[in-house]
Symmetry: C2
Subunit: 124 residues, 2 copies
DNA sequence: TTCATGTATGCGAATCTTTGCAGATATGAA
DNA sequence: TTCATATCTGCAAAGATTCGCATACATGAA
């Protein structure tokens, strides 16, 4: 198989793994450092089993790694730069602006573009 | 719905649209300029109807635009930078190196990282 | 109008993903 | 050992995507 195709397929695999709102939010959460499954589940308001499933997919594709401490599993991005790369995607979002208001995108850009403050009001 | 979630969903949509080997190859082809459906179909060795289907998805998400000249439809990237952005994904591929040999990735990186020579041997 | 060509669309079958839930496993405390 | 907590895995139903093919549409030539 031509290498062009192999790489297209591999790239498509990475894209497919990232292409899920929950997983993107997990990556977003992990930007600010490692976190355990339960905290992630609370932050995303999802059942722990679902978060665990997403994490295991991300882990299988080496986008995250885990560190176990007692019964808690702490996850972190294996390549923190990947989050920055995803952020750049927001620019294309801006460019296309399909179905999302400019202000929504702007505030989201702020969330992604800067490290999110740990304590400030974030109930949007 | 919190804007974080809206944007995660929108980003996921873009990722999902890109997350297909044929569509990535289409984007790759279009890096070197506009091209009509038939040329793309030949380059990718796919039926024209399939290419047309992929293009219409890309078009619906404004990743490509078309220009009609007679019965030919020429497509081009609406934001050529998006191809560059995808290329950066190759770096994560390198970092993960799952199931792809280093030399395959290297040659693919060359294909993506540089404008592909129009005539040179490219039968890989 | 008729024909050939280039592109687009529709549809069912096959395939892959996501979801919700039940149960399994692992760890630490009592 | 037993219990509670944290996480993981398995499975079937629901949902989404892809594929192959047939057919429709649009354009230009005769």
């Amino acid at each position: 198989m031509p290498s062009r195709q192999i790489v297209a397929k591999e790239l498509a695999d990475i894209f497919r793994v990232i292409a899920h709102a929950d997983r993107i939010r997990l990556i977003e959460e992990l930007r600010s450092g490692e976190s355990d499954v339960n905290s992630l589940a609370e932050a995303l308001e999802l059942p722990g089993s679902r978060v665990s499933q997403h994490l295991s997919l991300l882990r299988a594709h080496r986008l995250v790694e885990d560190r176990r401490e007692g019964r808690r599993h702490f996850y972190h991005l294996s390549q923190p730069e990947i989050a920055g790369w995803i952020v750049e995607g927001v620019d294309f979002l801006l460019g296309r602006a399909a179905g999302v208001s400019a202000s929504e995108i702007k505030s989201a850009r702020r969330l992604w573009g800067e490290r999110k403050p740990a304590t400030a009001a974030s109930g949007d």
